[in-house]
């Protein structure tokens, strides 16, 4: 007869993955980082041209869709995500990560309970919401919007 732990042993299937960790940059970074993000997320890439910007949509291996919004000059001014897992925010927010992290911690500490994240700073907006296995959110720097772009475009 099998013990519980032996059953548990069978329950674990090891799949070791060798992830290369590229130099990361997304929000505020160069559009060339999109390929790195795609590699990091083991995702598939779809690019859509708009008049004032380009959307690079990466469907990550874990099922989450990440969109990176790039200006004609090739700078990423906004990102969004939707799916079962919150993306790697350090990778996605790049140089904005520290500001995000301290603002998120301050908001959680002040909030007295659990709530969606809503960071509205002059140079950084982050909104994160959802429930287990269904999350969505977006982050952008309004100061880097190309002409003709508004927050409503980042979805």
């Amino acid at each position: 007869m099998k013990s519980n732990s032996q059953i548990s042993l069978m329950g674990i299937v090891l799949l070791m993955l060798t992830l290369s960790l590229p130099a990361l940059a997304a929000l505020g970074g160069d559009v060339s980082s999109v390929q790195e993000d795609q590699a990091q997320m083991k995702g598939t890439l779809k690019t859509t041209e708009h008049t004032a910007y380009t959307v690079h949509e990466i469907k990550a291996g874990n099922g989450t869709v990440v969109r990176e919004y790039a200006s004609p000059a090739g700078e990423v001014f906004g990102v969004s995500w939707q799916g079962p897992f919150i993306p790697d925010m350090k990778q996605l927010l790049g140089s904005y990560f520290d500001a995000y992290s301290s603002a998120a911690q301050a908001q959680r500490t002040a909030h007295r309970g659990r709530a969606p994240l809503n960071i509205q700073q002059p140079g950084l907006v982050v909104e994160s919401n959802g429930h287990m296995r269904s999350y969505s959110g977006r982050a952008y720097d309004p100061g880097k919007f190309p002409q003709g772009v508004s927050a409503n475009d980042i979805r």
Binding site: S8, S101, Q105, R108, A110, R112, R114, A115
Partner: protein, 598 residues
């Protein structure tokens, strides 16, 4: 403790002769007046006694003594003051007499009495955690006293007077619930020390109406487990967690009930020494660890362990739970890269654990798809990690884990009543210090959990339904007891000091419409939004707020291709409602989960 200065005068008078060597003027009496900073002390406390000596021309002051000898001590004596410190252990109340004797004239003395109280009496009750009873049932409550040297015990009181207390002794009483109640009724039993009425303890009992049965556990919204920290709109339950198959158990209160997640997560720091077995890879002895990230991108990290979970009258045997590690080191960056807080203390979490009784059987399944067992994703998500018992490394990457080893919604492991949960709370109009409700297991399995005329809302493949609000079609909306307010995109003014809440100038009446994912049924929900700053400032000790709301993204950014399309119906939605959460894949009379109904 008394801190007022008390003046006790026992004047020792002496009329001294004209030829006295002390030089006191003839016929003028030397007097001593004593005062004390406190004349009633608890064990270990101190009082400063000051002597005012009149007609003491040489200013020699006084010397100090006290009785009974050895009961406490005098220190720092000067000619006009001394400090008396009471013993730390005081079996019986004792009057101490402090005496000051004039140096100039030993026949002149004054004394002052200080009463030392016995060591503080403390009362504790068993059971201490909130209890549930069916109407007509009984519960024995026992009191344990410490430092009750006179063995006077306690007296018992019941508030409100619903049901009765029978066979009271100085250390025990039996509560008899009324034969019939019409709705969930909370009563509080208080044990008060006879010797010291300041020492008391309480236990709360919720009495359920007919048929409540063993599938009901009491819910409480209260300030939470951390003294002086008042969290808002967190619904708590008590549960018992045991080493599988043994009676080695611990009962934990203030576990937050969350319909927005699945699985029990309990802080390691609240079950120290409870030897729960870890889920182990026997090929190498490594243990399985779990990472969960919340909507605010805070996270919990710790090993997957097995426990029997007892809640209400239900038992989930050998359940995979996450034991949240007290340590912040060795957590893979793949888990911490949400970048906010590792909520591994009651203060950070606002609870001793989270009981996820949501729509899914494990924490990695969504609408029938298991994201962690390798069946639908090419990359294991950052949920499960395998590490040596010495701990993980920050560079460790996620692994694939089958459902049988994943953190499991305990409800699906109950032998009956295992297809979902029902949460009931009374209406909270504005603010209330606490509110009592119920968590009922099973849907349509007993007389107390029938769907009745409730609307059943089917969900999409993301476990969401549709809310129409202010011209927006919010098609990623959900009901979540673990969110502590209603969160939705609106033009209502956001608070300037806390961007998580709305702060309208005055109470704002709102309306939204919920629809199942396929467009039916349709249900209009009217609700009110109050100014969160005013709610908190005017009710600083209250835990339940029926009109608390906040932003979810930005208004008018929702579109079919994405954006902020979410109305998060948090705990205020449950106030005044009966809300059903049916679990994915479970049969419910008239359908199959997942769905919400109310």
């Amino acid at each position: 403790m008394r801190v007022l200065s008390a003046i006790v005068l026992v004047a020792g008078l002496a009329f001294l002769g004209a030829c006295s060597s002390s030089g006191t003027p003839a016929g003028v009496p030397l007097t001593i007046t004593l005062s004390a900073s406190a004349t009633s002390l608890n064990p270990g406390q101190a009082s400063t006694i000051t002597a005012t000596v009149a007609n003491d021309p040489s200013n020699k002051g006084v010397t100090w003594s006290f009785t009974p000898s050895g009961f406490g001590a005098l220190s720092s004596p000067t000619a006009t003051s001394v400090v008396y410190t009471a013993p730390t252990s005081v079996p019986t109340a004792t009057a101490v007499t402090i005496t000051a004797t004039s140096v100039a004239s030993a026949s002149v003395m004054a004394s002052l009495q200080i009463s030392v109280q016995t060591s503080a009496i403390a009362v504790s009750l068993s059971p201490a955690a909130p209890q549930t009873l069916n109407q007509g049932q009984q519960l024995s409550v026992n009191a344990t006293l410490t430092n009750d040297t006179s063995n006077k015990g306690v007296t018992w009181t019941l508030s409100p007077a619903v049901g009765s207390l029978t066979n009271p002794t100085t250390t025990a009483v039996t509560y008899v619930a009324p034969g019939s109640v019409t709705s969930n009724t909370a009563v509080t039993i208080t044990a008060t020390s006879v010797a010291s009425s300041a020492a008391k303890a309480t236990v709360e009992i919720t009495v359920f109406p007919s048929g409540a049965g063993a599938n009901v556990a009491a819910l409480t919204v209260d300030p939470g487990p951390v003294p002086a920290q008042v969290d808002a709109n967190l619904a708590f339950v008590s549960l018992t967690i045991c080493v599988p198959g043994t009676s080695t158990c611990q009962t934990i209160d203030h576990i937050q009930v969350d319909t927005g997640s699945s699985g029990l997560r309990i802080l390691q720091s609240v079950i120290p020494g409870l030897p729960l077995p870890s889920v182990v890879d026997q090929s190498n002895g490594d243990i399985l660890n779990n990472c969960v990230q919340f909507l605010d991108t805070s996270y919990l990290w710790g090993p997957v362990q097995q426990a029997d979970i007892k809640i209400g009258g239900e038992v989930a045997g050998s359940t995979n739970v996450q034991t949240v590690s007290s340590s912040n080191t060795g957590i893979p960056t793949a888990c911490t890269n949400g970048g906010t807080i590792n909520e591994n203390t009651p203060m950070l979490l606002g609870a001793n654990g989270i009981l996820g009784v949501g729509l899914e059987p494990t924490d990695c399944i969504l609408a029938g798809a298991n994201f962690c067992d390798g069946s639908v994703t090419t990359t294991p998500p950052n949920v499960y990690f395998e590490c040596p018992t010495s701990g993980c490394a920050t560079t460790d990457t996620a692994i694939i884990v089958l459902a049988s080893a994943q953190v499991t919604n305990p409800v699906v492991l109950f032998s009956t009543d295992n297809n979902g949960v029902v949460i009931q709370f009374p209406l909270v109009q504005s603010a209330a210090p606490t509110v009592s409700g119920s968590l009922t297991f099973g849907i349509g399995t007993e007389s107390n959990n029938a769907l009745g005329s409730a609307n059943v809302f089917g969900l999409d493949t993301n476990d969401n339904f549709i809310t129409l609000y202010a011209g927006q079609t919010l098609n990623a909306s959900f009901i979540d007891s673990g969110s502590n307010a209603l969160f939705f995109p609106s033009s209502i003014t956001v608070c300037t000091d806390n961007a998580s809440f709305y702060c309208p100038a005055s109470l704002s009446a709102q309306s939204a419409t919920n629809e199942g994912a396929t467009g039916t049924p349709v249900s209009v929900v009217n609700f009110s939004v109050d100014n969160a700053d005013n709610l908190f400032n005017n009710n600083p000790n209250d835990a339940a707020f029926g009109t608390l709301a906040g932003p979810q993204g930005t208004a008018n950014t929702c579109s079919s291709s994405g954006g902020s399309c979410t109305f998060d119906w948090g705990l205020p939605f449950f106030y005044g409602r009966t809300v059903f959460t049916a679990i994915d894949g479970q049969a419910v009379s008239g359908g199959t989960g997942p769905f919400w109904a109310y």
